[in-house]
């Protein structure tokens, strides 16, 4: 029932945990600090304690992971299901998540050097990758039928994906628009808002009235529009906000001013 690697990692986790607690008490912990992760009492040398606890948690996590996936070992999987032959599986499907993961790691590294914003982008990318890639991996192995796999994955992931994707997709618009507006003058902002809205409306009318415009062209227009928002937004953010006259109240100067 318990796989080999589970036993290994679980053992390591227990060992690390014991080491952490011992370490905690021997370097000056008191009360039940080392036992309660520092909630009720001190843990002694915090760095070492943290490292050991970290090792314990990582090993524990890995152990759980491996026992869930039966060490990715067909015999173990078959034994768990109580059948002779493990169920057939298709080979792993191609996926672009590793590519995105690469961008994420790069952003992470760059961000450490350049700016925290980029670092956060990297963190965000990697979180998304972790979830999506893991789900894809699971779905790939669920059944032998790619269609069913896809439906399974959709069933699980759509409740989060749909709203998040919808929100992200549209997020370019308010963020971009607001940046542009903030860089414009007071009267300019009125014009900008009106013009953008008019353009959007105009394009919509055109597309709606001409059903023969192909799907791809429409998709291109939409994509282009989205990119325009993002580009304009980034440009405007770089240009910076216009000067706002302070009217009394609290001081809230623009960033970098």
């Amino acid at each position: 029932m318990l796989t080999t690697s589970f036993k290994l990692y679980f053992g390591m986790a227990v060992g690390a945990l014991v080491a952490a607690v011992t370490f905690g008490y021997t370097t000056g912990g008191n009360n039940t600090g080392p036992l309660s992760l520092g909630w009720k009492g001190a843990v002694g040398n915090q760095t070492g304690y943290l490292i050991l606890i970290g090792v314990a948690m990582t090993c524990g996590f890995l152990g759980l992971l491996f026992v869930s996936f039966r060490d990715a070992d067909p015999t173990a999987a078959a034994a768990a299901l109580g059948v002779d032959q493990p169920p057939a599986q298709l080979p792993t499907q191609p996926s672009y998540w590793p590519l995105i993961a690469m961008f994420g790691v790069a952003a992470l590294a760059l961000g450490l050097v350049l700016s925290s914003a980029i670092f956060l982008v990297g963190v965000g990318l990697l979180t998304v990758v972790a979830i999506e890639w893991a789900m894809q991996a699971w779905a790939d192995r669920a059944t032998g039928d790619p269609q069913t796999n896809r439906e399974l994955r959709d069933r699980v992931m759509h409740p989060i994906e749909v709203p998040v994707v919808a929100a992200l997709a549209i997020a370019a618009v308010p963020l971009g628009a607001s940046r542009v507006l903030l860089s414009s003058s007071r009267i300019g902002a009125v014009w900008v808002a009106s013009v953008i809205a008019a353009v959007v409306l105009g394009v919509a009318v055109l597309v709606a009235l001409k059903p023969r415009i192909s799907k791809n062209i429409v998709a291109t227009i939409v994509l282009f529009g989205g990119l325009a928002f993002i580009a304009a937004g980034v440009t405007a953010a770089v240009i910076g906000e216009r000067d706002f006259e302070h009217h009394g109240g609290t001081e809230h100067p623009a960033e970098g001013k």
Binding site: P163, I170, L175, S178, V190, V200, A208, H247, H252
Partner: protein, 209 residues
């Protein structure tokens, strides 16, 4: 209260196919009635926020920052227009799906969402501007009341945008057909209500000092 007579659309045996409730005693759709009830209750929510704003907007100290210091009527008028137009596009989306035109439906749904997002962008711009000018959430009582009222409205709009985009995505994936027109209608009701609340807010908060 007499039962309302409504033409049924199909043989009595299946008087529920087009999204209406089973054996609906009034013949109207369950979900639509539910949405209208919800909108009725929302009137009280926004009424309370508007009343709070009205009571508090003039109770600020002599030199403290107030409505006339920050409001930018021309801009707010522009964004009101935008929201108004989004109501039009919404109703066009509905009429499209009701006659089965899924493509037009998508076009208008997306447009509505984009126009709504422009409105939200305008709100972000406005709020940031006010903030730079010295009106924060905690600055004074006018700030708290104003941001709460318009913030609640903005959150309602944002939720509406997400729902519209969700509909768009479903339609794009081929899951939103004429038979589900009522779903679009109900989200449309929500969207129009949000617009109507803005009509009231715009007049009472911005135009009447």
């Amino acid at each position: 209260m007499a039962d309302v007579a409504v033409a049924t659309h199909a043989p009595a045996e299946h008087a529920g196919d087009d999204g209406h409730g089973h054996g609906a005693s009034t013949g109207i759709s369950n979900t639509k009635l539910a949405m209208w009830l919800f909108l009725g209750s929302e009137c009280l929510l926004f009424g309370g926020l508007i009343s709070t704003y009205l009571l508090y907007k003039n109770r600020i100290a002599e030199g403290s920052i107030g409505p006339k210091d920050v409001f930018d009527i021309p801009f707010t008028s522009a964004s009101s227009f935008v929201l108004l137009m989004s109501s039009l596009t919404m109703v066009l989306a509905l009429s499209a799906i009701q006659r089965g035109d899924e493509r037009a439906n998508r076009v208008w749904l997306l447009t509505t969402a984009v126009l709504g997002s422009i409105f939200i962008g305008g709100q972000i711009y406005e709020f940031t501007g006010f903030y730079r000018e010295g009106l924060g959430y905690t600055t004074n009582i006018f700030g708290s009341a104003f941001y709460t009222l318009t913030g609640f409205h903005g959150v309602h709009v944002s939720i509406g945008i997400i729902m519209l985009m969700s509909l768009f995505v479903r339609s794009y994936r081929g899951h939103l057909h004429q038979a589900q027109a009522e779903t679009v209608e109900i989200i449309g009701l929500y969207w129009h209500f949000v617009d109507v609340v803005w009509i009231v807010i715009f007049t009472i908060v911005y135009l009447i000092p």
